[in-house]
């Protein structure tokens, strides 16, 4: 009778399926004692389940020998780049990763004055002729390695491998701002929250080249078509014969987010400057503002090098 049962159980039946978890528990040593005799009785009769148990015992050791998948060689660099950008984009949440500590410390004092002056200088030019909407950025602006591209989707960087590295970042990288840099990504500028952006400004003379891009990317429906070629290709020329940076670039140079917080006191001083400048505009008329932003660079407060030479759009 017993032989017949063994002979019948060479192939696993549907009833054997319910023993599988029990057999796996037996292998792991967590099968309750009250079920052991029950399982043992079945094993004594079922050859297929005995075979299953034998294989189940070997399974963990064999699975451990499966080689681990190997990531691509540049994955670590991609991760570091993404972490850097994330740290730049949200400095309150993420520690700012600085390569070379104290790099900004020396520039902090000079940046304090520069930040205050250049932040409020455009406001003094409200009565000029051309409209300028992107003098000030509220978003962090980053500098990327030369081999990276600025994607067509605003705020996305594309590494040489074609991978976008800004899925989590609030940073907006603009083609006009992103440029080749020998150093790793650095924070260029940071506006403290709550600080109002500059209202549309009218200036005479040249228009900063970043103004149209900013309006397009703000709406989000017509993303700016960024150059698909390597940033370095178009921007290497900038390095060899560097064009004058925009006001936004100049004003943010050397300031990181923490320094910008420290500049809050300087903003108060800037408010006073604005007050007196407004009075000056009222007295002297609109020509003062025009003169101050490039119509006559020699007499302006802003050096001519800070105004883009080819930035006069045809639409204007």
């Amino acid at each position: 009778m017993a032989r017949q049962e063994v002979a019948k159980s060479k192939h696993r039946s549907e009833g054997c399926l319910r023993y599988e978890p029990l057999l796996q528990r037996l292998v792991l040593g967590i099968l309750p004692k009250r079920k052991r005799s029950f399982v043992a009785a079945h094993l004594s009769k079922c050859k297929a389940c005995r075979e299953y148990l034998r294989q189940a015992k070997r399974l963990p050791a064999v699975l451990a020998r499966i080689p681990a998948p190997v990531p691509s060689a540049d994955l670590a660099d991609q991760i570091k780049g993404a972490c850097l950008v994330a740290s730049l984009a949200s400095p309150r949440e993420v520690p700012i990763l600085a390569w070379g500590r104290g790099a900004y410390a020396g520039a902090a004092a000079a940046a304090l004055l520069l930040f205050t002056a250049l932040s409020y200088l455009p406001i003094a030019a409200r009565t000029a002729h051309h409209q300028l909407s992107a003098v000030m950025y509220r978003e962090p602006v980053v500098v990327v390695p030369a081999s990276w591209e600025v994607g067509t989707n605003p705020g996305r960087l594309v590494q040489p491998a074609g991978r976008s590295v800004l899925p989590h970042s609030r940073a907006v990288v603009r083609p006009g701002i992103a440029r080749a840099a020998a150093a790793p990504v650095q924070r260029r500028w940071y506006t403290p929250p709550g600080r109002p952006t500059a209202p549309p400004l009218q200036v005479s003379g040249r228009i900063l080249q970043t103004a149209p891009q900013r309006q397009e990317t703000r709406r989000g429906d017509t993303p700016a078509r960024a150059p698909r070629g390597p940033v370095g290709s178009g921007l290497a020329a900038q390095e060899t014969s560097p064009p004058p940076p925009s006001i936004a670039e100049t004003s943010v140079d050397g300031i990181n987010g923490r320094v910008a917080h420290g500049v809050a006191a300087g903003v108060l001083a800037g408010a006073l400057i604005e007050h007196y400048l407004a009075d000056a505009i009222a007295r002297r008329g609109t020509d003062l503002a025009a003169a101050s932003l490039g119509a006559s660079p020699e007499a302006a407060d802003v050096p001519a090098s800070r105004v883009s030479p080819d930035a006069v759009p045809a639409a204007m």
Partner: protein, 228 residues
């Protein structure tokens, strides 16, 4: 051990010997502790070392749970999340940075699988195409020290087959098999990563192995087509 010494020396250079002496060094966890504390202070080199040290294993976990298609993106996501949460991370008790990071990775993988709304379909060669003999799982998975091209090819196919079979399991079952059987973590650490008691890990592992064996057997018999 040499790698730990190397990391330790790097960490010493990063944070200075004074701070390092305050840490009772016994192994990689203490090196991690120094690197984490340095990264909290904004030291990019420290966090870079943590990335170098763990990105391959995090990638392995996510690859096995979610498949190859998005493994690198999710791995990148994991490290960005870890960086965001780094300030809140505290070394308490037996908690280690590795465990904490793996927990983020497993949670990210499970969230990704849930987001897909279905069990991931791993794309590629089918089990039918492997044309395996009727030998059992253990025979097929038996270790072989031979390095002949045929054996290497079979191992590659076997690796795909295992990952394909894993893709048919539930996210929790994938996670426990990945951590315990494939990554070789002890039950206790797997329990901390999964956020459940050790006994739960074992019972879940038993069910997961049973499900895996069942799927793999069907795979062998050519009844199921799994694309890699």
């Amino acid at each position: 051990m040499a790698r730990e010494d190397q990391l330790l020396s790097k960490a010493r250079n990063l944070v200075g010997s004074d701070a390092l002496e305050q840490v009772e060094t016994e192994g990689a966890d203490d090196v991690d502790r120094v690197l984490v504390e340095a990264a909290k202070l904004g030291d990019g080199e420290a966090y870079s070392q943590l990335v170098d040290q763990y990105h391959a294993r995090v990638y392995g976990i996510i690859y096995r749970m979610c498949g190859a298609a998005e493994a690198e993106d999710i791995t990148q996501d994991v490290f960005v999340r870890a960086l965001r949460a780094l300030r809140s991370f505290q070394f308490q008790g037996q908690a280690s940075f590795r465990t904490w990071l793996y927990r983020i990775a497993v949670n990210a993988a499970i969230n990704e699988l849930r987001k897909r709304g279905r069990r991931s379909q791993v794309v590629g060669s089918s089990l039918e195409e492997l044309q395996e003999a009727e030998s059992g799982i253990a025979e097929r998975l038996a270790p072989d020290t031979s390095q002949s091209p045929e054996v290497l090819l079979e191992r590659k196919e076997l690796q795909h087959a295992v990952h394909a079979a894993l893709s048919k399991l539930t996210p929790k079952h994938r996670a426990v098999i990945t951590l315990v059987d494939l990554e070789g973590l002890p039950y206790e650490e797997a329990a901390r990563i999964l956020g459940c008691p050790t006994g739960t890990v074992k019972s879940r592992l038993a069910r997961a192995r049973a499900a895996f064996a069942r799927v793999f057997q069907r795979y062998q018999q050519g009844k199921m087509r799994i694309q890699i």
